[in-house]
Symmetry: D3
Subunit: 157 residues, 6 copies
């Protein structure tokens, strides 16, 4: 059984929390496509090309991981890529209820299964928006994002 999984997100920017989920998912599936949402809702800090470039840089050592932009329905993207699984990280009970709703909708729309990993405790408090806020005020984000991302954020202050 050769399974392709899709790991979707805004990745604005990618954090060590995302990377933990990506690494662990890459160990479970034959092929993992990290799907970066093109129009990340409410004005992203980084444009999609920057977000993709950072993702490419941080997964470079993971041979079965690809990075791609997407818009439209996630189930359509999965079909295009031959993926039968969506894989997501869960941090907290409140994440869960939204993700449950999305998983059940996607199962109805596209016959695609959603599998969840739990975020490692050490990254459970991390989110892209918290990291951006810390960076904006000059806080040190070295513990939260890879060096290439920290460097990129420092140019936005």
């Amino acid at each position: 059984m050769a399974v392709t999984a899709v790991c979707p997100g805004s990745f604005d920017p990618v954090t060590y929390g995302h990377l933990d989920v990506i690494r662990r998912a890459a160990a479970q599936f034959d092929r993992l496509v990290v799907a970066c949402l093109r129009n990340a809702g409410k004005r992203p800090l980084l444009d999609v090309d920057e977000r993709l470039a950072l993702l490419e840089a941080v997964v470079v050592d993971l041979p079965n991981v690809e990075v791609a932009a997407f818009d439209g329905l996630l189930v359509d993207f999965c079909a295009e890529r031959g993926a039968t699984v969506i894989v997501k990280g869960l941090r907290a009970a409140s994440d869960f209820e939204y993700e449950l709703q999305m998983a059940q909708m996607n199962a109805r729309l596209g016959n695609v299964e959603t599998l969840f990993l739990t975020t490692s405790p050490v990254y459970s408090f991390l989110s892209s928006s918290l990291v951006k806020e810390v960076a904006r005020f000059g806080g040190d984000v070295a513990d939260f994002v890879p060096p290439i991302v920290a460097e990129r954020l420092s140019r936005h202050r």
Copy 2:
């Protein structure tokens, strides 16, 4: 990548909710071991041999699924069976917090990954204990468990 997954539970008795998770998990992994907890805590209704027999009967059409009893640490059972994945169903946010705790403990103890499926909405309200209570008072459980299980429960009234 040939992955063996373990789907643990008390299965006292197996319900359509469990069966939904088992079927969907069986579609995602090369081999699935349904692991039935031998000493299901607080006095199970059915002894482990009955629970195993019912499980065997209801997964008979799933060629890559095996059924086994276990006790001790789940990570030890996974190691014995060559499983690198634990797969569980999640119904509600309150399930999630307990399962998160278990998943993180098992990751620490045994280098085994836990993947979660969300229970199909139509079975989200089902639990073995509710089914047992309905059966005990002569309610109709035909919508909740396979016929062989319903028949078995009817003998316990």
Copy 3:
């Protein structure tokens, strides 16, 4: 439309929180049956006759409220009493998930609708088991239960 509603519980003992829900439910339905679970699981403090007597005493001023014991399936009790509605109080999100499960099961078993009231904030922290623990150690429960209940609890120290 003359609606009979059932308000089930263990009432071991009835608290001001229960009474708040009973009063408000009595104002919404033509007839309200307070249904006291005969075998309140794990060894009740008060036997069912005492629990019923206290309930009778505290609802004496509510002309459309009756008190009755029940066991078996709640949907069967509703059918016997001609009730089409179950009414329950909700204190917290964790109550909700269990009650959601019960409501969906009862809708499947008996074509009975469950309606929820939210507990008044001032009673949101009350539970029978907390009250019993306070009373057991001689704490003052006058703010939590009607005088007749407080008096009865004082005999159990």
Copy 4:
């Protein structure tokens, strides 16, 4: 006791989940007013006249249901219509906390009782915003909204 209940929402657009709550509420109360929030916060997809027209169309077979627009305080609308009950559907624990807050505020402001129904499991994952997103990208929404609503959404792609 002739009770008028109000079922408020944005209904942008009405889904089968809303319709399930409306039908079940209509069976419990003598008269049900579906109250459509005029200025649905953050730019609705459909203007209020369209939302009202769709609501009218889908409740046409429910003789004790009326549809009306409202703005201002919900308790004032209830007073105008002679309603003593607000009825809402609950899908998940996270819905509950917000609704608890609103119910307690409305009880303080207007002496109006809020009663909750739980959404049927089969619709528990539905929300107007998910439906709009699916429709926007050309997904099939026939399982989620009545045909007249699906047809209307198809014109917005």
Copy 5:
């Protein structure tokens, strides 16, 4: 041990719920700085000077409480003020998950401890945004905010 604590918020406007937390925190710490977020995200109703003036007015009887505006990282503000503790009120489980995330981030960024009080039940349903909505439509907010705040809100209708 002379401890300075910081109680942060938008206070747009300050409610009796905030005041309850401030009073109780003031009783626990030697010095309490109420820190009013200068740019309260999405267009505050009151500008920061008004919010500060109202805060000053309502804490005038609490000798160990100061009021100050802040922006930037809260941990930097704590360092400036010599505060080692952040104190916050918790109303509901959903508050908790966000606050947990913030507390853990602040512990990493600034070696500052976050301590939580639970909001008194009687104020558990209050929020600045609900109060503003009630006031906007001419509802009576006398039970929710101090008279000086109610008077100020009445000018915004």
Copy 6:
């Protein structure tokens, strides 16, 4: 202001999670009494003297921390010890709802304030009962409890 705080629990056995909360609480208050519940409900693994001895051993380097057994109402114990604060760790949203209830009850019973710390992420999955289960089956608990506790548990297998 010289504040005495009480940190209650069953401590059956004390874990690194408890110790993290105790250490951080000891840094915030002048004097901290770790209060070990004498009759830890449902048959503790270790009797109260063993639990106290282990607690004494692991807090030996914290000069402002004392260890004591208690039974009865926690507010009475606080009064005896001159404590005005109860301090507890919170791991998850589900902890929160129970603790909120206890905090509000204790505020009513004894005019004592409850302050919460959030458990460090790295210990968020730890509980005494999980540790006991791991130890019972011969799993390695060195990452979860201090060496003296691990040694003690190893004698219970």
